[in-house]
Amino acid sequence: MENIITLWQSTGLYNFSLGQAFMMLIGFLLLFLAIKKGFEPLLLLPIGFGAILSNIPIAGIGDEGGILYYLYTGIKTGVFPLLIFMGVGAMTDFGPMLANPKTLFLGAAAQFGIFATLLGALALNVVPGLDFTLKDAAAIAIIGGADGPTAIYVASKLAPDLLGAIAVAAYSYMALVPLIQPPIMRALTSEDERKIEMTQLRDVSGAEKIIFPLMLLILCALLLPSSAPLVGMFCLGNLMNSCGIVERLSKTAQNELINIVTIFLGLAVGSKLSAEAFLKIETLGILGLGAIAFSIGTACGVIMAKIMNRFSDTPINPLIGAAGVSAVPMAARVANKIGLESNPHNFLLMHAMGPNVAGVIGSAVAAGVLLSLVG
C-alpha cells in the first residue's frame, strides 16, 4: 500500500506543474513546426524533444546527473557550436564571393540588424517587467545574425538563461525567411531593379579558395581576436575542404561529426527551455526583437545594394542584398525566387551566395565585437 502511494507520488500527474506542462506543449509545437512545417528540422526536432524531456517532472533529465545536463557542458564550453561551425565551414563554397568580392559589403550592411536590435532591446526596458542587461541585449541582438551556431555561442557566453529562447527564435526566423523577406524586398525595390541581370561570375581557382580562409584568419587574428574562435573553426573546416588532401577529415566534419554534435546540441539547447526561463515577458520581447532584427537586416542589405549601384559600373540586383543576413542557403534561394518572378531568365542564386556567405563572416565579426565590448 505504501508502495502504491510512493508510486502515485512519483507519477508525473501528481507532480506536474503548470509551467512544465506548458513548456512540454512548446516542445510539441516545435516538433510540429519541424516535422509538419519543415522549420529547420535538423535542429528544431532535437530542441523540441529536449524541451519535452527536460520538463518531465521528477525525471530530472535536464538537472545535474541527467543526460541533458551532461550534454549541456558541450555548449557551456563552446565546443559544440564551434564544431558545428567547423562543419558548416567545410560545407561552404567561397567561390561566388571570391568572384565578386564587393558583395562582402552586402554581408556587412545586413549586420545592422544586429546592432539595431541591441538598441531595441535596451529601449524595450521602458516596458514594465522587462529588464534586459547589456549582456542580455547583446545576446538577443545576435539573432539578427541569422546564424544558428553563432547565436548559440554568443548566448551561451553572455546570457545562458536566455539561450533557449534565443536559439528557438534564431532557428524559427531562419525557417521563416521565405515569409519575412519577400515583402520587405518588394517594398524597397522597383520592378526595374528586380529585373537587373548580373554579369556571369568568373571561375575561381582552387588556389584562391585555399588561400582565402587563411587570409581571413590572419585578418581576424590581427584585428578582432575575440571572433577568432568562431572565424577560426569556420576557416579550419573550409580549408580542410578546399585543400582537397584531407578529404577523410572534411567528409567526417561535414557528416558524422556535425550530425552527432547537432543531436547533442539540439537536446542541450532544449534543456534550457524551462518554465522559469522561458515563461516570461522577456521571451515575447525576444521573439519580437528577433523578427525586427531579420527585417532590418534584410532592408539594410537591399538598401546597401542600391547605394552600391550608384557608385559602381557593374550592376547589382538589389535583391541579392537581402541574402546578406546569411540564413544560408535559404536567403539566397529567396533572392533567386523573387528575381525569377520579375525576370524569368535571371538566375540570381550564385550571385546571392556571395553576400550569403559574407553574412556568415559578418555576423561572426559582429559576435566578436559584442563579446569584446560587452562580455
Binding site: L98, P101, K102, L104, F105, G107, A108, Q111, F112, I114, F115, A116, L118, L119, L122, A123, N125, L134, A137, A138, V204, S205, A207, E208, I211, F212, M215, L216, L219, C220, L223, L224, A358, I361, G362, V365, A366, V369, L370, L373, V374
Partner: protein, 76 residues
C-alpha cells in the same frame, strides 16, 4: 536617454564600423590576393603554352607537308 542606451548607441556605432572596416579590408586583400594568384596562374599557363610553341618547327613543317600530300592523293 539613460546611460545604458548611450552605451548601446556607442556599441552600435563601433560595431557597425568594425564590421564594415573588417569586410572592407577583406575586399581589399581578396582583390590583391586574386590578382597575385591569377598572375601566377597565367604565368604558368604562359610557360605551358611556351612549351607548346617550342615544338620543333621542322616537325610542324613535316606534318603539314604530310597532310598536303594526303589531301592531294585523296583528291586525285
Amino acid at each position: 536617454m539613460n546611460e545604458m542606451m548611450s552605451t548601446g548607441i556607442e556599441i552600435m556605432l563601433v560595431g557597425m564600423g568594425t564590421v564594415f572596416l573588417f569586410l572592407a579590408m577583406l575586399i581589399v586583400t581578396v582583390n590583391v590576393m586574386s590578382k597575385i594568384v591569377q598572375h601566377f596562374l597565367s604565368q604558368k599557363i604562359n610557360e605551358q603554352s611556351t612549351l607548346v610553341h617550342t615544338i620543333d618547327p621542322s616537325v610542324i613543317a613535316a606534318i603539314s607537308t604530310a597532310v598536303h600530300h594526303y589531301r592531294n592523293k585523296d583528291a586525285s
